[in-house]
């Protein structure tokens, strides 16, 4: 699905990705974890073509990414900060993204699922952070694409919407989609994800299932296992 080969990226003198190698197979939920500044968002953004790597190659579904844009037709991306043009109404924004993607979409179901009907005629600048995030989720999930990338999807969500989001993610997984997630909420990661990709100092430090991670670190609790893997690396 995604193939990353010796990826290097520097921002000024700050090395973020240092020869990262990664293979993501089709189907399943992959959690990309790592301490702050380990390059999670940079990795996602290079896959999306938003950050241009200094060295290395990425292919998404066998097509190289560099200077291309058509492959993004097969990716649904949920950005971290949900901020949209304030003067547009929610339904206008949805119509706009539909207009741009020119793909079949089922936004009605999602609008119902997150209870957004009363907000459709409101301007985006008048929405709360959580409601904006729900709009963000609708925009991400309304298209049927084989690859879904979620950057901190739980930001600002209330418990009910969180449950809905988890259901939505497992529905997509059941359809055989590949889903990448970054999150700082370990409980959420443990609940939804099949595989863990742990980034450290611009490289993949660990890749495997949650069970493998627990065995490797000798911890029975996932959160402690993640903490152990980070502190363990500090002692190296």
């Amino acid at each position: 699905m995604i193939h990353v080969e010796s990826l290097h990226k520097k921002f000024g003198k700050n090395v973020v990705l240092a020869g990262l190698e990664l293979n993501i197979d089709q189907g399943g939920i992959f959690a990309i974890l790592g301490p702050n500044g380990s390059g999670k968002t940079t990795l996602i953004k290079t896959v999306l073509g938003m950050v241009i790597p200094n060295k290395g190659a990425i292919t998404v579904m066998d097509s190289p990414v560099r200077n291309k844009w058509k492959y993004r037709q097969d990716i649904n991306y949920l950005p971290q900060i949900a901020n949209f043009p304030g003067n547009l109404k929610v339904k206008e924004l949805i119509a706009m993204i539909k207009d741009i993607r020119q793909k079949p979409s089922d936004e009605q179901k999602l609008i119902g699922l997150f209870g957004l009907e009363p907000f459709l005629d409101k301007k985006l600048s008048n929405l709360s952070g959580g409601t904006k995030q729900k709009v963000n989720i609708v925009l991400t999930f309304m298209f049927d694409s084989p690859l879904i990338i979620l950057d901190e999807p739980t930001n600002g969500l209330d418990p009910l919407s969180m449950i809905r989001l988890k259901e939505l993610i497992s529905e997509e997984k059941a359809k055989g989609k590949t889903i990448l997630i970054t999150s700082h909420i370990m409980q959420f990661v443990e609940e939804v994800s099949d595989h863990i990709v742990y980034l450290l100092e611009g490289k993949i430090y660990f890749k495997g299932s949650i069970a493998e991670l627990k065995t490797k670190t000798g911890q029975s609790n996932f959160e402690h296992a993640i903490a152990a893997i980070s502190t363990h690396s500090n002692h190296d």
Binding site: K45, N67, N87, I100
Partner: protein, 273 residues
Amino acid sequence: MNTPLRQYQPTATMIKILKYSFYDLMRSRWSYVYFLFYLLLGFVLLFLNNELSKAVITLMNVIIVLVPLIGTIFGVMYFYNSKEFTELLLAQPIKRSSIFLGQYFGVAGSLTVSLVLGLGIPFTLYGLFQSKAIWDFSLLLITGAFLTLIFTAIAFNIALSNENKIKGFGYAVLAWLFLAVIYDGLFLMSLIVFEEYPLDNLSLLATMFNPIDLSRTLILLKLDISALLGYTGAIFKQFFGTNLGLFVSIIMLFLWTVIPVWRLSYVAKRKDF
């Protein structure tokens, strides 16, 4: 019309983005303020001057300074305010240049519409179409449109190259200040320092390289008040007053628009977001 082919047309997508940026801006309060300002200015000038050609001169003085300033400030503000929205678009199957050019033409277009309608309505009501001043007035609006395009493009360039909003805003205002005020000061000083040398061609050139000066000269000479400008005025009249001069000036304004727009698209392609 919903053939799958449509999604692979960058120009069509650019026009969509332009449309949405345009609508977005046309609905913001500031577009109305800008529009109403020109509307009011038009009515007041016509009422006070009671003569079209004099109103056009006063308008020129306002437009030549204000249009670039508003283009600069709106351009920078829009660019920074739509950062997250741009990131959303960047993740969509859209070519990068389509996003930035679409946004740019959306901003510049809505400012131009405010200018043309705001001034056009009072002047049309006053009876512009029966008057000789229509060509002067049209030239005024054309240079106004060019100045909007030019300074919005400069502002977008500065904003694209500066992550820091405060810095970007500062540089943009400085760029405006330089072209609107400082450039003329330096120009005058150089004329005084080198007064013993023939400076006609130098002055012509210096005028060409500043879109504000170029617009001002173009309008003044069209209004046929070059007699006020003395000897240099006569030289200028010889050049700018002819069709060739007009043609060259329009080409220069065009280049002033195209080069920043090209750089915008060039830099955007290579930038990390």
